[in-house]
């Protein structure tokens, strides 16, 4: 093969990624990157299509399988409580641990609430109040500012196998701390 022809072939094949190796003196083998570019284009289009941009960061743990459903609304920013087979976390911090969705007897009070969870919610709620009070606008009393910024929303990120009994305990505890707007997090079904 003539050197000029080899050079042309290499140039058609691509640029800096081309790896040429000399065989038996003058022969050059060029990597065809055109097909690679095709694959990359398809992959990029697919990724761009499936890429979802959301301002809300919902970190679903590995040990949690969310129920699938259609017709849900867009996620909102709110306090997050996670219920898994092994425990409950609030804003990522572990609150309670148990086995197979079964809290220990002492962990549930007579009114169906979970004192540990109520305590953790109270702490978070207090933080929320302090933030609200700190952002008091001119002419607004701290009490009104707290009331206006009071967020009754709670994102419930629960495993699909969670029994309603456990969910009721969690929601009862939340309602004890004035959380009344429960947002159940689900995975959008494909069909």
């Amino acid at each position: 093969m003539h050197m000029g022809e080899c050079g042309n072939m290499a140039r058609r094949g691509g640029g800096s990624m081309r790896r040429s190796r000399r065989r038996q003196g003058n022969e050059e083998i060029a990597l065809q990157i055109t097909s690679m570019a095709d694959i990359f284009t398809i992959l990029l289009v697919f990724l761009l299509k499936s890429y979802s941009v959301s301002a809300i960061d919902i970190d679903v743990g590995k040990d949690i399988k969310l129920p699938a459903a259609n017709g849900g609304t867009e996620s909102v920013e709110a306090m997050k409580v996670q219920v898994t087979e092994t425990g409950i976390t609030l804003e990522g911090a572990p609150v309670m641990t148990f086995e197979k969705f079964e809290p220990r007897k002492g962990e549930i009070s007579g009114d169906g609430t979970m004192p540990e969870l109520v305590k953790a919610l109270k702490k978070e709620r207090e933080k929320q109040r302090q933030i609200a009070a700190a952002s008091v606008k001119t002419g607004v009393s701290p009490k009104d500012a707290v009331r206006n910024n009071f967020d009754a929303k709670l994102l419930v990120i629960a495993d699909k196998k969670v029994p309603y009994k456990l969910l009721k305990h969690v929601l009862s505890s939340a309602s004890e701390m004035d959380f009344t707007d429960f947002k159940l997090v689900v995975v959008t079904a494909d069909n």
Binding site: F40, L44, E74, S75, Y164, F182, L184, V187, T188
Partner: protein
């Protein structure tokens, strides 16, 4: 892109920088993409003190999920009934008919047996939501 100097036009697209860009972009997107689309189901709980609605709905409806998979719709108010359905589709159809008959009826209270899984509750809510009814979790 280069052009030959001697008369004929010989275009050669230099794919190398494009491939470089694609590689970086694909790596970034693969690392950051979340392939699960997450959405929210509203399940407001109405506290006792907030229930002083001046115009009460014509009927109050409770959807009760049973351990055996059946669903029971209990209505109170202008229309008193208690019907059991074997699946969520049948229950959703019954809710649709109630909605047609009583346009003022707008929310369903969902209750369930202790052992009923969260997934079943979400499924029931999904079906009921198709009738433009809001859901309220009850039983606690």
């Amino acid at each position: 892109m280069s052009r030959s100097r001697g008369g004929s036009l010989d275009f050669e697209l230099n794919l190398a920088p494009i491939i470089d860009c694609f590689t970086v972009l694909i790596t970034f997107m693969l690392a950051s993409a979340s392939f699960l689309s997450i959405s929210i189901f509203d399940a407001g709980f109405t506290p006792a003190e907030a229930q002083g609605d001046p115009t009460p709905p014509p009927i109050t409806v409770t959807l009760d999920l049973k351990k055996n998979g059946s669903l029971q719709i209990v209505t109170h108010g202008k229309y008193e009934s208690k019907n059991t359905f074997q699946n969520a589709d049948e229950a959703a159809e019954a809710l649709r008919q109630l909605k047609e008959k009583y346009p003022g009826f707008e929310s369903v209270t969902i209750t369930a047996d202790q052992e009923v899984e969260y997934e079943s509750i979400v499924k029931a809510m999904e079906k009921a939501r198709k009738n433009n009814l809001s859901m309220v979790l009850g039983g606690f």
